[in-house]
């Protein structure tokens, strides 16, 4: 994900995630499971927008959160194919679930002299924390909804963003509903 692409789309946060779907998978922590999951997307020429894999609460299992755009009926069929994989315990599209979503970003911004104050102002507004304070740059850490991150990044001059690392979206359904 280049920094340029989301910048232009950041301001259109009102559109429902530009048809992005958030799929959560509960999988066995086994070698090859990531490839098997990725191949369900790649065999159709689909691109995964973001992917987060990490250990689940239960030992021996992992949680994957995939965001992907595409025709909803095709995605529905792909989710069935994901669920069919022996290592996948369940695969659920949470796009319309009652859920909490968040993402974290690290933004390295070039700033010297007066521009530093502008950057710090933006950081303060978005509750971002300065985690590296160098002579010619700052690293900001920010978290929240992906739209919030998009909006913040869009406020910086494109050439001042030296590097951008986003974690990708993670999601959890509210109350005792299983994600």
């Amino acid at each position: 994900m280049s920094s340029a692409t989301p910048l232009t789309q950041a301001t259109t946060a009102a559109s429902p995630d530009r048809d992005l779907h958030t799929i959560s998978l509960f999988v066995r922590d086994a070698p090859g499971v990531l490839v098997r999951v990725a191949m369900v997307f790649s065999r159709r020429g689909y691109n995964i927008e973001s992917l987060v894999v990490s250990p689940a609460a239960r030992a021996g299992f992992s949680r994957m959160t995939v965001t992907c755009s595409g025709d909803p009926s095709i995605l529905e069929q792909m989710i069935k194919q994901l669920a069919k994989l022996v290592d996948v315990v369940h695969a659920i599209d949470h796009t319309t679930s009652d859920r909490f979503e968040t993402e974290i970003a690290l933004i390295k911004v070039r700033c010297e002299g007066d521009s530093r104050r502008d950057v710090l102002e933006i950081a303060e507004h978005f509750n971002a924390k300065v985690v590296d304070y160098a002579a010619e740059s700052l690293i900001l850490r920010v978290y929240g909804g992906s739209e919030k991150l998009d909006a913040m990044i869009a406020l910086f001059e494109e050439e001042s963003v030296v590097e951008l690392v986003r974690s990708g979206k993670i999601v959890m359904t509210r109350a005792l509903e299983m994600t």
Partner: protein
């Protein structure tokens, strides 16, 4: 001796024995040597093939004929990659096979060692599941899981990659009986509410059709299909792979549907008001142009694999479950429908559009296959290769018995027929087994003549020799202004002499008047393999035909006068 520690390879072979494996189809090589060594002391019989692709197809044919998993053992690198076509063939057609591949020692993985290939990586797309074992202690668990996964639910291909240090080193792990696979669930009995809806839908129909696929073969649902058809008074059609599940000679059976199905089967499907898929997946060879398939008809879909629901067709009622179990719960809810007018229409089509072929102008493949059906009395296991001969065999060799028709459908793998017949023969030694091949496909795996010859298998191989890749030639004639490209098999060997060079009995059919006598002679010969070469007319076409991507109503019954537009559908 008694104090000696069991090796991983010995443990593996013991696990295979516990799974009831009778045969391993294999080809040795460096990385698999510990496993081949352990086989020396086992009762499992090794069938040494001449090419790993042959081993994979033999295991597949064995599995399709017996319902038991076929097992393949090959070495690393090229040995393993040569099984990839076989894995695709089995996986596409839901056939249980377990492929064991030797691998370089685990410290060398990823370092381009001699005969190293990333075999799990190469095969992800063509397996139901796979394992790369890095610890001998995992052998019992992985083997048990592999057989469980291959044979249950929608069956498929499972691969276990075995580094040589793992098979050569000690293994003290106990045997495993139970599997623990939280991500793997197998539907059995369908949802009662969905079954009730299906019964209601079927009985509301005036023009129902039962469309039977390979799932009905796998679950042995044929008798239930017939009971349902008789009770509902509905016609039956089957796919290429569904042949034999329900007796194709039953009066309610209209034969095979689809691209080269009978005209009456396709007319029935095109004219129905309700179609029920029983273990079938609405493949593109069946539906033709999807947007125009069974317009206005209600659709019921029974499949053990829920990922098939909504893939091609979104059914009005979808039932996830085993075809036989679902039908057995459905049948008591069915009472006779008012379908006599509909059945009369179907009989009218059967009379109006019979399968036919020219009796004059040289030896015809259809004639040979029609007579093969008479020679065998429909009681032989028939395997086919892929192409025109396959479609003619499907049309003329009506199948009456489950697991007696073996053909590569989904993958359409040339070279499948002959080795599959060898596997089927080993699995069913008391059965007559005929492979029907074209001259093109036969040459892809002809080296297995040696395998059949060594084991004196009474397998018969009928080669329909037109010195052409006939199906592609047919398309070039119909759709590409007869611009022939890459279809002339000039340089074919004399197949009789070729078979004789392997010590195999061989007969030749040149004239229509030879057909019955020579087929009978071959059928009666049981001392070893027998190759029958039918030298048929060079140019002939398979009809009926629905051009790829055309609707069922676009079916061609005979050769059209004018050139046809190039097909828009898949291949």
């Amino acid at each position: 001796m008694d104090n000696r520690v069991t090796t991983g390879a010995e443990k593996l072979i013991q696990c295979l024995e516990r799974e009831g494996v009778e045969y391993i189809f294999g080809y040795s090589g460096g990385a698999a040597m510990p496993i081949f060594d352990a086989l020396v002391d086992s009762d499992i019989k090794l069938i040494l093939v001449r090419h790993e692709q042959g081993a994979a197809h033999m295991a597949d044919g064995y599995a399709r004929a017996t319902g038991k998993p076929g097992v393949v053992l090959v070495t690393s690198g090229p040995g393993a990659t040569n099984t990839v076509t076989g894995l695709l063939t089995s996986q596409m057609d839901s056939v249980p096979v377990v492929v064991l591949t030797g691998q370089t020692i685990s410290p060398m993985l990823g370092k381009d060692g001699f005969q190293e290939a990333d075999v799990t990586g190469i095969t992800y797309a063509v397996v139901k599941h796979s394992y790369l074992l890095k610890d001998a202690a995992d052998i019992p668990k992985a083997t048990r899981e592999a057989f469980h996964i291959a044979t249950t639910g929608r069956p498929g291909a499972v691969l276990i990659d075995l580094p040589k240090d793992v098979t050569q080193g000690p293994c003290e792990a106990p045997f495993v009986d139970e599997v623990d696979l939280p991500g793997y669930t197998v539907p059995t009995h369908g949802d009662p509410e969905a079954i009730r809806q299906a019964a209601e839908t079927l009985m509301a129909a005036k023009r129902p059709v039962l469309y039977v696929g390979h799932g009905a073969v796998i679950s042995n649902a044929g008798k239930a299909v017939i009971r349902l058809a008789e009770k509902l008074r509905a016609p039956i059609v089957n796919t290429l792979l569904g042949k034999g599940a329900a007796d194709e000679t039953h009066p309610l059976h209209l034969g095979m549907l689809g691209m080269h199905g009978t005209a009456y089967a396709n007319k029935a499907v095109d004219g129905c008001d309700c179609i029920m898929a029983i273990g079938a997946r609405w493949d593109d060879r069946i539906t033709g142009k999807l947007d125009e398939f069974c317009l206005g008809a209600t659709k019921i879909h029974i499949d053990i694999d829920p990922a098939e629901f909504g893939k091609m067709v979104t059914a009005d009622v979808a039932i996830a479950g085993d075809a036989r179990l679902v039908l057995e719960e459905l049948i008591p809810q069915i009472s006779a429908g008012d379908t006599e007018e509909w059945l009369q229409s179907c009989e009218g089509w059967r009379k109006k559009y019979p399968l036919k072929y020219a009796k004059q102008g040289g030896l015809r493949a259809q004639h040979v296959l029609d007579r093969l059906h008479h020679t065998t009395g429909g009681d032989a296991i028939i395997t086919t290769d892929v192409g025109q001969h396959q479609m003619w065999a499907a049309q003329f060799c009506l199948s009456t018995t489950n697991r007696h028709w073996i053909s590569s459908g989904g993958a359409g793998t040339m070279g499948f027929g002959f080795p599959a017949a060898i596997g089927a023969q080993l699995g069913c030694p008391d059965k007559k087994v005929w492979a029907v091949c074209g001259d093109g496909g036969f040459q892809m795996t002809q080296a297995e003549l040696a395998t059949a010859s060594i084991h004196k298998l009474p397998t018969k191989c009928l080669i329909i020799n037109n010195n052409f890749l006939g199906m592609v030639r047919q398309w070039q004639e119909l759709f590409f202004e007869n611009r022939l490209s890459g279809v002339d098999l000039v340089g074919n060997p004399d197949f009789v002499k070729l078979a004789q060079a392997y010590g195999v009995k061989a007969l030749r059919i040149r004239r229509p008047s030879d057909v019955d006598r020579i087929l009978a002679e071959a059928h009666a010969y049981d001392e070893g393999p027998c190759v029958v070469v039918a030298e048929v007319v060079k140019e002939d076409n398979v009809f009926p035909m629905i051009p790829a991507g055309a609707p069922l109503s676009g079916m061609i019954i005979e050769k059209p006068k004018e050139q046809l537009a190039k097909p828009t559908g898949s291949t």
